[in-house]
């Protein structure tokens, strides 16, 4: 596989399929619940994605990991079904339902066959409104999470990211692992989890995308039946959190042949007027896979890495500009020197007209590509709403990219890229690396 990690990480602002752009409908149910819908009758299935803003941010003080654990328990029993009963019902309907909770969001995904649509939504309704959180299942899923945490402690990427975030966001939820720690999750009671869950699936922070073999008239009543009796919930603190400028290199010793590095500093919020120029700049710098400056210098010319990338990471309350690389211990210092030099070159000299033109051609041309499935488009529709972007964003997005000038990018690059503020965490046994703080 020649896949670059960068490609996967670059999907921060994702355009929708061109074929879908004229077809997004804003559906308001009789009960007032909004969903964005694209009708797609070609395959007899429907994909649904629901994003609840919150995620680990709803964890109470000292209860880190509660939302993560709760999201893993929803399928382990709901209504009068136990864990097996729920799974059997899902099988009877051939429905696929998933729940996950991250730093900022609790996400629910469903794929259902058209033939079983109503029953599938009803199952989702029971899962969302009547999870049982039986003690035996809490203990079992907690053990799974604890096992995952032990594995995280020896996974170089997770080790590096955990350390990076801990130092950049001390004393805030962004500085703590989304899964919590053994201490915090071992202390969680059933009551704590139910209490946390009560803040996760709430209508005031809910965004819904639906794509498939369904029309607005059918969807409206299903929205009410599925989500209508969820609590409204309370607003969360969205005040900005400023990442600490750490600077320098921090090494976590590990007996592995290749050093894994994660680096970055403060970034740009999604609603910043300069976000699009920054996005285009990042594509040229390290977001675009083959042809990006980081890949050209570190991989193509010097053979120092299989994967080197950068990305804008706009979270709900903070923004980062991040990147990563993995290079043999003996040569990782060389990789990091090249990356620092590129960081400085971009900050000081910006991009050329030719680079910008190539980036525009790619970004606008690839507009239609990222959504070759109903499930991906549903996720995009929910994501657009969660990012506060309008339903017309898809129509205007390529114009926004095309309007970016070299001057815009050079100004934004100078403001955003701070080579002296780069904080680099390396996991491995690196040679010749000047560790400083």
């Amino acid at each position: 596989m020649k896949t670059l990690l960068a490609l996967a990480l670059a999907l921060l602002i994702a355009p929708a399929a061109q074929a879908a752009e004229d077809r997004i409908q804003r559906v308001i149910s009789p009960g007032g619940i909004e969903a964005w819908l694209v009708e797609e009758p070609a395959i007899p299935m429907v994909a649904v994605e629901v994003i609840f803003s919150g995620g680990a941010r709803v964890d109470a003080e000292g209860q880190d990991g509660a939302a993560y654990l709760a999201s893993g328990l929803i399928e382990e029993g709901a209504g009068d079904m136990d864990s097996q009963g729920f799974a059997l019902r899902k099988e009877d309907l051939s429905a696929r339902i998933s729940f996950s909770s991250g730093r900022d969001e609790f996400t629910v995904g469903m794929r259902a066959l058209s033939a079983n649509l109503e029953e599938s939504f009803e199952l989702l309704h029971i899962a969302l409104t009547e999870p049982t959180f039986e003690q035996r299942q809490i203990d079992r899923v907690r053990d799974q999470v604890l096992s995952g945490m032990k594995s995280d402690l020896v996974d170089p990427n997770t080790q590096a990211a955990t350390e990076w975030f801990a130092q950049a966001f001390p004393g805030t939820s962004y500085g703590r692992p989304t899964k919590g720690t053994p201490e915090t999750i071992n202390a969680l009671t059933r009551a704590d989890l139910l209490d946390t869950y009560g803040r996760m699936a709430v209508t005031s922070r809910m965004k819904i995308g639906v794509v498939g073999d369904i029309d607005a008239a059918t969807l409206g009543p299903l929205l009410d039946a599925t989500f209508g009796d969820l609590p409204e919930g309370e607003a969360l603190d969205t005040s900005p959190i400023d990442p600490v400028t750490v600077s320098g290199v921090h090494v976590i010793e590990a007996d592995i042949p290749q050093s894994t590095a994660i680096f970055g500093h403060r970034g740009m919020m999604r609603d910043d007027p300069d976000f699009i120029p920054a996005f285009v700049m990042n594509h040229i710098f390290g977001g675009g896979g083959f042809g990006s400056r980081l890949t050209t210098e570190v991989r193509e010319k010097n053979g120092l890495a299989y994967s080197v990338y950068s990305y804008l990471a706009p979270y709900e309350r903070a923004a980062l500009y991040m990147g990563g690389v993995a290079t043999a211990n003996e040569r990782v210092a060389e990789s990091l020197d090249l990356i620092r030099a590129e960081w400085r070159r971009m900050a000081e000299q910006g991009v050329t007209e030719a680079e910008l033109e190539a980036a525009k051609k790619y970004l606008t041309g690839a507009f239609a590509l990222r959504f070759d499935s109903n499930a991906k488009i549903a996720g995009y529709l929910a994501g657009l709403q969660a990012s506060g972007l309008g339903i017309d964003y898809i129509d205007t997005r390529n114009d926004l990219v095309n309007a970016v000038t070299v001057e815009d990018i050079n100004r934004v690059a100078g403001e955003l890229l701070k080579p002296d503020e780069l904080f680099i965490v390396v996991v491995g046994d690196p040679e010749g690396l000047d560790e400083s703080n």
């Binding site: 074929a19 299935m45 991989r299 041309g365 590509l369």
Partner: protein, 445 residues
Amino acid sequence: MRRFLAFLTVVLAPQSALAEPVVTSFELENGMRGVVIEDHRAPVVTHMVWYQVGSADETPGKTGIAHYLEHLLFKGTDTIPSGRFSEIVAENGGQENAFTSRDYTGYFQNIAADRLGLMMEMEADRMRNLTIGDDDWQAERDVVSEERRMRTDNRPSAKFREQFSAALYLSHPYGKPVIGWKSEVEALTKEDALEFYKRFYAPGNAILVVAGDVTPDEVERLARETYGKIAAVDLPEHTRSVEPPHLAERRIEMVDRRVAQPQFMRGYLAPSYVTAEPGEAEGLVLLADILGGGTTRRMQRIMTQDTDMAIYAGAYYSGMARDHGEFVIYAGPKGDATLAQVEGAMDWILEDLLAHGVTEEELARSKKSLIADEIYSQDSQRSLARQYGAALTVGLTIEDIQSWRSRVEATTADDVLNAARKVLDRRNSVTGFLRGPDAGKEATQ
């Protein structure tokens, strides 16, 4: 019995009525085959060329050459300089990549449907006209070494899998890692790559797969104008070592300080879709699902719920291969449970199945689940194209792919039991333990 039949009718009828994707095929005079999968949901296309050559076709001592060559195919031809291929794809708003497996090597672009001709022209060009610059090949070999460190050497579970596969095959090249052994990868040369390229990259050894907003006529016309102009080439036989009969089960244990969760794994050599007797591969697919396909299946139910001795447990069958399939069971012990205890419990599950077979309800549930997966997989143009490409490249036909659903539906409980009896023979197997240094003490207590 009657009740069961009624259940089957209700459950399976709506799914069986679903349409298959529209798939057509053609063949060019130079032997290259083409397959078109129509998907008109969006004005985009997935263009893939699959070569019937993979790591199993490598010369002894040159492991990793198929994958290394895959990287080098981005390094230019007589007319397109190094790196320019990717630039052209990007300028046209396309995404691209490539992959190497035991049996095949594939290249693809996802792009606006009206750029298909350009992609075919470039892909046809690099089928025969590769040139590799002197600077490029050494840097790219370093890239592959970094890829190996990232995927394998830095990860105990991946190193374990590599040892496991090497132990499963006594002679057949499926035992070698696709990315190659470290010392051999580091010694590969430009000449090795070009020699391999000239032997295997030819129209008669390639399959074109196009999925998306296209018509079969248009694809065939474009294919004739591009791939059709390449002269036919005599192809070498796939000369692979033949696996001798297995007379002794093998056991491996790997201890690594960076293992947090111990792991039990057993793999059985099995027939593949290509080599299986009728009904056997379908029996194995269903067997894997009945044993380890999810929360309600035997292994997860018994290991993670009833006995609570495992964090996870499951089984899978990988049969999409030219020469051999593999049937694998695995589990991660929990708490005080040892790897030996987990192995014992997993063996009990297998023995119970071999003694009593599977129930009609289990069979119906697994069929339904597998068929639903197949329907959902139609949602992704890229994965549909990959399914067809992989199946055709290992030697199956479009009819084989399209009759899969009815063959699975026709599989009986006896078919499943017969497949289980044939394959679940310990002499055909490797049992592997992966653990950290501390877990050993636990095991001897």
